[in-house]
Amino acid sequence: MTDPYVILGVSPSATDDEIREAYRKMSLKFHPDRHSQSTLSDLAEEKMKEINAAFDRIMDMRRGGGEQKYSYTSSQYYSGDNSVFSEIRSQIKQGNLTDAENILDQPTTQRNAEWSFLKGSVCYARGWLNEAFENFSNAVRLDPQNAEYNAALNSMINARQGNMNGNPNPYRGRDTVCGCSACDLCQGLVCADCCCECSGGDLISCC
């Protein structure tokens, strides 16, 4: 098995807190809520397991047979009993998007919140994100309390605000990439000038 420290990306000399922090960051990155709608959700789950195992191993080693086990379990939302919809879910899980869509589009299939949600899931897995968003919004409108639909919709709303998973510099690189525009510069200068004048000096002589 690979070195658990390498998996978590920390040095073996890191403190327990640093390791916990690294673990927290990594598990946010691969959290099932982020990947549940993707075609790659199984790979994310595997990564999650790997990180959990690495974290538990490090903690075991450090405590000499540790007592405390952390692990994130994948969030299981689904508790429906409609057999058509569970059939569609299993088709999506196996990647048979065309089959899933065929069942969804049959006129006999009930068009409720879950229908919209699953339609959105198929679109999302295809990469048809605009239509996925519309369907998820629809699902939440029809059933505002449902945690599963809300999780899917919220993760897209999050993306729409420009948040990207794993971004090492989350506050840079969006609208003002350089951090400081020409406007900010002038404003700064005027401010500095006011301060100087208060204390009897002058920075910009013309104003």
């Binding site: 993707s38 790659l40 295809r126 990469g127 048809w128 605009n130 993306a159 990207m164 969006r174």
Partner: protein
């Protein structure tokens, strides 16, 4: 293909920029060597990214050597000198060919004429690349046909309109690895990059397409028919940010062995920055 996949240069370290540039120059050289000199002038940033991604997934060491450059005859520039760029070069040739072919169908007389002449020049190179990568070639042909179909039918859905470009990029990216799981991740990344490129390009061309009454899915959305630019921008921005969000999800799953800071720069900063330049109609720097 279009050159929208590029790093955000001022946030790169010098050493990172040197490597990026060496890949770009190495790719240019490879195109000249394996295909034709004229094709070297069609190279775009997108394929430099592809080359870089290919290197970043492999275990082998790379070597960089100064070599004479066609654009700056008097000084040598650092180039990748260890092979490994043949695939990216071929993919570049195949997409340039199809882009030109597409241009012969729906542009003005002069552009049309130019495209025909260019196509004649590069036909042999294309045949060579097509022979080396038949799967990619047939995929490109198939999806270009779908694209023409979409244009003919005036497809309203942005998702559907972006599909052919996305699928081609997905096929191109997937070939970078042999490993089954990595292939799946690359195919997803490729798809979303293709979607990003298509929508950014559609926004870039929206005024031109409105004037020339050409197909552009952004002009077909509700309330956008009369070139309502604010609404169009908002729509494009939402679509792009959805795409980048999911792209980042797929990207985190990739096992990157080297050059991670450069790839991070392109994925997290470069794409958004390039899109914002297009959004605010600022000139893209060469």
């Amino acid at each position: 293909m279009f050159g929208y996949i590029r790093p955000f240069k001022s946030q790169l370290k010098f050493c990172e920029y040197d490597i990026y540039k060496a890949v770009y120059c190495g790719l240019c050289k490879e195109i000249g060597k394996s295909y034709s000199v004229i094709l070297r002038f069609t190279l775009s940033y997108d394929f430099a990214f592809l080359g870089l991604l290919g290197f970043s997934l492999s275990d082998s060491e790379i070597s960089i050597k100064p070599q004479p450059c066609i654009a700056h005859p008097l000084k040598k520039t650092p180039c990748i000198a260890c092979g490994g760029l043949n695939y990216s070069a071929s993919a570049a040739v195949i997409s340039v060919y199809h882009k030109l072919k597409d241009d012969t169908i729906d542009s003005g007389f002069f552009r049309n004429f130019f495209s025909y002449v260019m196509l004649g020049f590069i036909k042999r190179s294309y045949n060579k690349a097509a022979k080396a990568f038949p799967v990619l070639t047939s995929a490109a042909e198939k999806y270009m046909a779908v694209q023409r179909e979409n244009e003919k039918e005036n497809t309203k859905s942005i998702d559907k309109a972006a599909e052919p470009t996305s699928q081609i990029m997905s096929e191109i990216a997937a070939e970078l690895s042999e490993d089954e799981n990595t292939k799946r991740i690359l195919s997803r990344i490729g798809y979303l990059l293709g979607r990003y490129v298509y929508i950014t390009d559609a926004l870039d061309d929206v005024k031109k397409d409105y004037k020339n009454k050409q197909y552009n899915p952004l002009l077909l959305q509700d309330g956008c028919e009369n070139l309502n630019i604010e609404k169009i921008r908002e729509l494009a921005k939402d679509s792009i940010y959805f795409t980048l969000g999911e792209l980042a999800n797929a990207y985190t799953l990739l096992n990157i062995k080297k050059f991670k800071p450069i790839l991070d720069n392109i994925i997290y900063l470069g794409l958004g920055n390039t899109f914002n330049l297009v959004l605010n109609e600022r000139e893209l720097l060469k």
